[in-house]
């Protein structure tokens, strides 16, 4: 900074080497750097706001459910609850298993065999979320006397999606088979889901 003591009048300007007046682009780096840092900072501030909307710890804590399936007879199904969503547990009859195995997998919209959708040696236990993969309705077919649709599995009357005896999508707008959650048999009759 020039002062009067330097013998320079206040109106007179001194141009040091590398000054913006001689090198007008020099200041651009400063501006770009400052705006970039501010932009990154503003972006990072948004992260906790977005992250706060993810499922909270108490929602995630409901992530396992234990079920005793001993009372479910072949041909029967029950509706349980897993992560506050319906869960279908179905004891398939040999005829239903045969029907599911009869279907050529390549002809399916979401190709999967019944074996891939069940546990080894427990092919008769079809455990799926009871959430239609179209828009999330609960399909019919798990309750006593409910409409199981044209393929004998589950049927969503809201938008007409029909699932077969392996819970695979066969007709209607839903894009995927009923989702099989992670689960394990801890004994012959007890299943832990999640």
């Amino acid at each position: 900074m020039a002062t009067l003591e330097d013998g320079v009048s206040p109106t007179q300007t001194i141009v040091p080497p590398g000054d913006p007046i001689e090198n007008p682009r020099r200041r651009d780096y400063l501006k770009i750097a400052a705006v970039s840092v501010a932009g990154v900072g503003a972006g990072v501030v948004v992260l906790p706001l977005i992250n706060s909307m993810n499922p909270s710890a108490d929602v995630l804590a409901l992530s396992t459910t234990e079920l005793d399936v001993s009372a479910i007879e072949p041909g029967q199904a029950i509706k349980a609850s897993f992560r506050k969503q319906p869960l279908f547990v179905r004891n398939l009859t040999p005829a239903e298993i045969a029907e599911a195995d009869k279907v050529p997998v390549s002809s399916l919209r979401d190709p999967q065999t019944l074996e891939e959708r069940t546990k080894e040696g427990k092919t008769n236990w079809l455990i799926t979320l009871g959430v239609c993969t179209h828009l999330g309705c609960v399909p019919l077919g798990a309750g006593e006397g409910e409409n199981r649709g044209p393929f004998g599995g589950y049927f969503c009357p809201c938008h007409g999606s029909a699932y077969d005896t392996a819970g695979r999508i066969r007709q209607g707008p839903a894009p995927k088979n009923l989702e099989v959650p992670n689960y394990a048999f801890t004994s012959d009759t007890v299943v832990v889901v999640g």
């Binding site: 993810n54 499922p55 609850s81 319906p86 999330g136 609960v138 209607g172 707008p173």
Partner: protein, 429 residues
Amino acid sequence: MSFPWARHYEPKTPLTQWIDSRLPLPRFVYNAVGAGYPVPRNLNYFWNFGVLAGLCLVIQIVTGIVLAMHFHTSAVGAFESVNGGIMRDVNAGWFLRFAHANGASMFLLVVYIHIFRGLYYGSYKAPREMIWLIGVVIFLLIMATAFMGYVLPWGQMSFWGAQVITGFFSAIPVVGEWVRVWLLGGYAPDDAALNRFFSLHYLLPFVIAGAVILHIWALHIPGSGNPTGVEVKGEQDTVPFHPYYTAKDGFGVGVFLILFSTLIFFFPDYLGHPDNYIPANPLSTPAHIVPEWYFWPFYAILRAFTADFILPAKLWGVVAMFGSIILLFFLPWLDKSPVRSANFRPGYRIAFWILVLDVLVLGYCGGSAATPGVVIASQLCAAYYFAHFLIVVPIISRLERPKPLPNSITEAVLGDHGGSRMTETALRA
């Protein structure tokens, strides 16, 4: 703007002069809806609906603020606080609740007439494109707000509405399911979703109010359109907004309030779905999930896609449903006709009424169960809806020969009579 002959605000008392020199808010109001805003003299009653929409917004905000004071925002308490607390225990709570719920229906009804008025009289055409664009934004905001408000009482339809509408987002490839879980804050609608919907339902009306101010600001640059679609040529074509249209709008407000009161006091549940009096049950879907009547046409477009074609049917449905509104943004550039009003466009006029019919049929389909006949009707009508904007309107605007336009608004209003009167005045002068 104002035309050069617009009256100027002149504060008369010392107090108004003092205010005007510090915060010219009265001047702003005077120039917006007072004598400072000259308006075409020939506006018909379809031009009431902008003011009615503003009134609806005010009614919704006022009733909503009071209702929020009695509402419990939790999956356990929401249903009971609405159907028990507000409807039975809160003084006049039933009235506020019915006014707010039916107010939403009246708001959408008024907005639809306002939009179709714009379509018929070419209000979206130059130089008023920006008004139209902001209007479509307001429409989207209203739809989001109405949806989130419908979820709050946490009845069966509310819950499954939230499930289905957020299910749209799971149609997004790859990240869809994650987006849905993020929006809901869980795997199914629950406390987290209810709380954020409440928060946004309270916030968005104020965003709408801001967008409405932009909408009116953009309107005041070129000034109001009119049923002939002919530009204002001079002072004889306009009248000051106040008292002429304040009086005319006042009459419209009276008629509106009679209809609104009839709905509140005699048919308060007519437009709602009875299933919403059943508390939300996450384990059982209603046999027939339907949105409120004002979303039926869009719901029909969503359901019209039943087969996969390159993309999954679900994604097509969602894209088409949003597309049917996004399309409106492009309308000012799809319609090339230099003539605004459908009164002088015989071809467009027919297409307009077919579109009205088409949307009504779509609405009927969206409100019905998805039987095969209804699905086919939805498919045909959805196809026509898009064809109207993307094919019919652009072609008509090129081929059509419009009828001769009147030379001025005044001539259209008064005909030869006005012409001769003007000549007489000219002779006397």
